[in-house]
Amino acid sequence: MTSHAAAIVDAAPPAPVSGWRQVLDAIVRRPVALVSAAVLLVVVLAAVAGPLIAPYPANAVDLSRALQPPSGAHWFGTDELGRDVLSRVVLAARVSMLVSVVSVTIAFVVGVTLGLVAGYAGGWADTLAMRAVDVMFAFPVLLLALSIVAILGPGLTTAMIAIGVVYTPIFARVARASTLSVREESYVRAARGMGARPLGIIARHVLPNVAAPLIVQTSLSLAFAILSEAALSFLGLGVQPPEPSWGRMLFDARGYLDQAWWMAVFPGLAVFVTVLAFNLIGDTLRDVLDPSGREARR
């Protein structure tokens, strides 16, 4: 009798699929996500290995070949200084990726820290942090960029800081909202009951459960950061010439729209396609990681 009962021991369930595999699976299964991932891979490749891929240097001025339409030698044509548009588009990818990654990293680190602390601690820490966030929210990118330009002068660093500051609030809010809901969960109470320190609780319990909406938010913010960088460069506040930047290229193309449409179209397409790809991946990530839709868009 006893041995029979012992034999009816609960069979262990099968090993679960790891989170990353689920994500990969979801991407592979959705054609849209797959294409977006491919596009992003190309952009990253361009950013990393630009100088190796680009057929011409970014600043190879050759006035004799100025304003030539797309051809065998120049797939994207040339600009008003005879520079190869394709090469410039490829090399500008580096700037865009750099600015968006760095600025979103700043926004993430500062914003999530603020949000976590505010959400978990509550009280005056919460009020203080959130009012600071509200102030940051109120600033349009441009105004902030101008202020920073006044202090630091235009350039890459300015762009990164300005965009970073502007995107901090959304991360703070997402982190805080998730933290507030997680804080009330039974397992957090159980952790407090066993004597865990607040930092330990945040690291072990709060962070993993707020990670999902934050990851989604990150991919969306990367997309918008690229747009913001393009806008800043377009206005001359970001990357300075002759450094290639998609936004700067759009600016330069203004005067030649009827003569040389390729000068605007290709950089524009690059921005558009990259931003779209980030957005679509973000949607897919959200479907997989956070179907309840707790993250916000900016």
Partner: protein, 336 residues
Amino acid sequence: MTGVFGVEGLGVRIGEARILDDVTWSVDRGETLGIVGESGSGKSMSVLAATGLLPAARGLRLEGRSWLGGDAPVDNLLALDAERLRRLRGPRIGFVFQDPATSLNPLLSVERQLTEGLEEHRGMTRRDAARRAIELLELVGIPDPERRLQSYPHQLSGGMRQRVMIAIALSCDPEVLVADEPTTALDVTIQAQILDVVAELQHRLGTAVVWISHDLGVVGGIADRIAVLYGGQVVETGDVRDIFAGHRHPYTAGLLASRPKLGHRTDDLAMIPGSPPDPRHLPSGCVFYDRCTVRADERCASERPPLAQPSGAAAGHLVRSFCAEHPASTSAGASS
């Protein structure tokens, strides 16, 4: 078939999960049928399916039938369209659900919730309905009914709300009252009150009652007949005395033996090892086989036993087990 309400051969499938399988039970006028089972047994499902209250789901398939008896019999409720079925709920079948907090509309006063059904199904005027509402509140033992009519659900305690639910359920004089775990969320002293109210009402009005619960103690106290569900199947059914003192199914035996009983101490509780089955992967033989400590027959693992009356059992006592024919293994006195 005698009786006022019942199901026959009822089956429910959602995708590859078999939620209910060949479920048959019935209840007669003035009688209380207790449907007992643990989570996943399908006890609530059988009633929801029978009355068309199952939420729409992809891959939902129904089999069998549910019927109403009495003066205006309905052969198969499941064959009716949604509108005709809806008109039966209220006038012929009343419902009381588990959580009165969510079953009552928090925005409507008690009066409105009571009179709504009366105006709809009985065509009463507002005034007549209000008068009837007061009668109903008195019927369920709510003090000061005129004032209570104006209350809103959040102003009432759990026990009060449940009484209001019962009043609503009985407002159109149904032949059957279906109660799905109505006292599970209530304190035990309040539960005692509600049990009294329902017993009194049944005595006065002759309503048939179907009481669904996981608590054998509660069901044993008020039911005349019991159906025990496991893994979506009826594994034993019969008179309450037969179930408690003369049960033949190993699951029933295990269920009864594993409760701590007031006044009877044991060192270790007899327990049923393992967990209930996954409706997507039901065994091909007896549904209880994996957890059964009796297994007295070679057919247990491979063949599905039919619901049949074992030898020596009283009429109406049906068991779905091959072991039932091996008397020594499952009699009420035998401990496993």
